[in-house]
């Protein structure tokens, strides 16, 4: 047992009703070390960091920080000890400016003018330029993350916790971030890096602790351990990659051209001259960093936002002016990103949620009077076919885990036999085995001749399922390219908004 550890975690346990989120978790972080915390969704990573950051108190166990007992009761205590945290979500205020956001995360914020000067100074020192006076609501996802990082850096933390920091970044931005983190680590700041992306961890981290179902299942040196080995530790079994057969694609069935949409809310993204051609049997992947117009695009394709009639066509028929139900009748089905509240009503039962989109294609009503028996049957079919784990169809949607609800939502659409399926972030926050099932279902659907558009921020996912790839950046789509033979570098440029691929290719060679 070495006394040099910066933070030692000694058998922390935290239980919630029905689930032990952390079960005797123990490991150590050394000063200046980049330590990976690896695990699937639901493995207990976020509970653990919440305990380190003082947001949640452990049921039992203890922590030591620099040799002294450490039991923060609130984030303020954690911050004053030298622990800072960059959140994945939920810690910025859109209507406040950068400086105000940063002041809110500090113990004793200096006067506004001094703070602005400090922000500029630190942001330049670490290669993360930021304007203190801009509204956070107007910033891109990558810039928002900088706000979070600078907020932490201004407090000279000894330990910096980063929760899934790269999920909102382009590959190029990831490079910049890693550069910053390496610099911090060289200066002696330890970093606890939470992720499920194995390649990243292999490039960045010195040590990795793997969590599964709340328990530490192993530690390893990521530099010398293969991604496959780590994946097996993390998931507990080896996963089959979805099988796909290269098939020739049919006619263009679904076409979008010159689609421009103004955003409905002040912080939304406008869509600009979107053009898409989708063939029967094709899976088109649309990549892009969060907040570049994904929601708006899905709404325009689903019919929630009506557009000019000719902007969207199905089999050459203009349908841009039609609403969601008319499109469903024609065979265009969608699965939005937000499961609870958009794709499904949280407090309604699965039966009621089955009715949400399947009324027309499954004939679940007569003149407006609902056929609950048939609806229940359909919900049960979806539950059975897609292996949705739930006590029964009468349970509320929000009682299901993310993965199970997503299987239900995607299954509900696919079992209606769509001609065109559009899904946004189909496996976000879903555990690995459910994600694999969902991807397989998407491929099977295309196999049967439907066209599928997969909008996702997970590039690995797109490379796995998509035949063709295009990127969404600030509401514009890049040119479409076949997925085969795309390099990460090119993808990065496409995501970053290099719309002319000729230039991009040149830039890539510089």
């Amino acid at each position: 047992m070495s006394d040099t550890a910066l933070l030692s975690i000694n058998s922390l346990t935290k239980a919630y009703p029905g689930v032990v989120a952390n079960d005797s978790v123990a490991f150590k972080i050394q000063p200046g070390e980049v330590h990976a915390l690896l695990g699937e969704n639901g493995a207990g990573k976020s509970t653990l960091v919440k305990m380190i950051y003082g947001l949640v108190r452990p049921d039992s166990g203890s922590m030591d920080f620099m040799g002294a007992p450490y039991a923060p009761t609130e984030p303020r205590a954690a911050r004053s000890t030298g622990v800072a945290m960059v959140f994945q979500h939920f810690s910025l205020f859109e209507a406040l400016n950068v400086a105000e956001n940063i002041a809110l995360g500090m113990e004793n914020p200096p006067k506004p003018r001094d703070l602005a000067a400090r922000i500029t100074e630190v942001s330049e020192a670490y290669g993360l330029p930021l304007d203190p006076d801009r509204l956070v609501g107007d910033l891109s996802a990558g810039e928002r993350q900088r706000v979070e990082i600078i907020r932490c850096l201004l407090q000279d933390p000894k330990l910096l916790i980063m929760d899934e920091p790269t999920s909102v970044l382009t590959p190029q931005e990831v490079e910049i971030l890693f550069h910053t983190l390496r610099k911090l680590s060289a200066e002696g700041t330890a970093i606890l890096y939470i992720s499920h992306k194995l390649e990243e961890i292999r490039t960045l981290c010195d040590e990795a602790t793997v969590l599964r179902l709340g328990k530490v299942v192993g530690t390893c040196d990521p530099k010398t351990t293969s991604a496959a080995e780590m994946a097996e530790l993390m998931v507990g079994k080896s996963l089959a990659t979805p099988a796909r057969t290269d098939a020739s694609h049919g006619e263009v069935i679904f076409k979008v051209s010159g689609l421009s949409v103004e955003p409905a809310n002040p912080f939304g993204t406008p869509l600009r001259h979107i053009g898409i051609e989708l063939r029967a049997g094709e899976v088109l992947g649309i990549g892009g960093v969060a907040g570049n117009g994904q929601d708006e695009l899905l709404a325009a394709l689903s019919g929630e936002t009506p557009t000019a009639p000719g902007a969207v066509t199905l089999m050459k028929e203009p349908i841009g002016h039609t609403g969601p139900n008319e499109r469903r009748q024609m065979g265009i089905l969608c699965g939005p990103e937000e499961r609870l509240g958009h794709a499904a009503a949280p407090d309604m039962s699965l039966v009621e949620n089955a009715l949400l989109t399947a009324r027309h294609r499954k004939s679940l009503d007569r003149n407006g009077f609902l056929d609950w028996k048939a609806t229940r049957k359909y919900a049960e079919d979806v539950i059975e076919t897609y292996d949705v784990r739930t006590p029964g169809p009468d349970n509320a949607a929000r009682s299901l885990s993310g993965g199970n609800l997503q299987k239900f939502v995607i299954g509900r659409e696919i079992m209606q036999d769509p001609k065109v399926l559009v899904v946004n972030q189909p496996t976000w926050g879903v555990d690995a085995s459910a994600a694999a099932d969902i991807r397989q279902a998407i491929l099977n659907l295309a196999q049967q001749g439907a066209g599928v558009i997969v909008i996702s921020q997970d590039l690995d996912e797109l490379l796995e399922v998509a035949d063709n790839f295009t990127a969404l950046n600030e509401g514009r789509l890049s040119n479409t390219r076949p997925t085969n033979g795309l390099t990460m570098e090119t993808i990065g440029l496409m995501l970053g908004g290099a719309h002319d691929m000729h230039d991009a290719a040149e830039a890539a060679h510089v």
């Binding site: 947001l55 910025l92 809110l104």
Partner: protein, 307 residues
């Protein structure tokens, strides 16, 4: 009969003060992300408790204090229900108004008809003797000056202080504020109590200065108008004050016009403050306005910390 512009302007300020007080309190509550529709109830409780205590003690100051306490106590019910019992804010606010109206008439039963001690005018030496401006601006009760000072204080606190920043942050995104370690519920409770105290003072201004007497339901929708003023002012103290004076002007003018026997039906004049409030609301909410941007993003949403 001609209408004297000087007394009209002075009356305007008197008519505006109660709704200004209530509105500035509600602004703070809404900035913290809470929608309390019980302003009318808190005002009427303030009106009756202020009146009762002032009559009992003979001290208007104690009366106003009691009004603030009364309003805050009623607001506390709202705070406990919405913050700890996570009840729906719209329904709870309505309940507060209904309960406040009932309770106030119950309390007021025994004191109706009494005369409150006169609230002294605070003539500001030197200034109050000025022609025109003197009687309009510098010859009012202390509460009028207090309301203006309060607006300035709220503006300054929200804009320049850390407390104000935290309050705005809580109203903007309570999950983020919680993640940073701010006590969302405690901050909101304080704001709710402040709002209640302000509404109580506003109500007492009715029963002790403007009317001055106690009659059932005497606030006659002023609380609702105060709520509308917050929207009208797009959550900015200065604009809320402007709105309150505009509204007060209309009220004062229509009363003068009624008295002057102008050939406009009395009922139409009496309706005019409400109608104009509606029209202003429509103007403020139409268009892709800045007003919508200023609305605190977490307004009316239930906060429940998980974990």
């Amino acid at each position: 009969m001609a209408i004297d512009p000087v007394t009209l302007m002075a009356a305007l300020i008197v008519a505006s003060t109660p709704i200004l007080l209530a509105a500035i309190g509600e602004l703070v509550v809404e900035k913290a992300g809470v929608l309390n529709l019980g302003v009318e109830g808190m005002m009427i409780i303030g009106a009756v408790s202020g009146f009762a205590i002032a009559v009992q003690t003979g001290s208007p100051t104690l009366g106003f204090l009691a009004a603030a306490v009364g309003g805050a106590l009623l607001a506390l019910i709202f705070g406990v229900l919405t913050q700890f019992f996570l009840s729906n804010q719209v329904a709870t606010g309505l309940a507060l108004t209904l309960f406040g109206l009932g309770l106030s008439s119950l309390i007021g039963e025994s004191i109706s008809g009494a005369t409150p001690p006169p609230v002294a005018r605070l003539n500001i030496p030197g200034l109050s003797e000025m022609p025109v401006l003197g009687p309009i601006l510098f010859s009012h009760t202390a509460m009028v000056y207090f309301s203006v000072a309060l607006v300035i204080a709220v503006w300054a606190v929200l804009k320049f202080t850390h407390v104000g920043l935290v309050l705005r942050a809580v109203g903007e995104n309570h999950d983020a504020a919680h993640a940073l370690g701010y006590k969302v519920i405690r901050i909101r409770l304080m704001a709710i109590l402040f709002g209640g105290a302000c509404a109580g003072l506003g109500g007492a201004f009715f029963s002790m200065v403007r009317v001055p007497q106690w009659t059932e339901g005497m606030t006659a929708g002023a609380g609702w108008i105060a709520l509308a003023l917050v929207v009208f002012g797009s959550w900015k103290p200065g604009r809320v004050m402007l709105g309150a004076y505009l509204f007060g002007g209309i009220t004062a003018l229509q009363l003068r016009l009624q008295a002057a026997g102008i050939a406009i039906p009395v009922e139409l004049l009496a309706m005019s403050p409400y109608l104009i409030t509606i029209i202003v609301l429509v103007i403020m909410s139409s268009g892709k306005s800045r007003a919508a941007l200023n609305a605190p993003a977490a307004l009316g949403k239930v906060f429940h910390a998980t974990g």
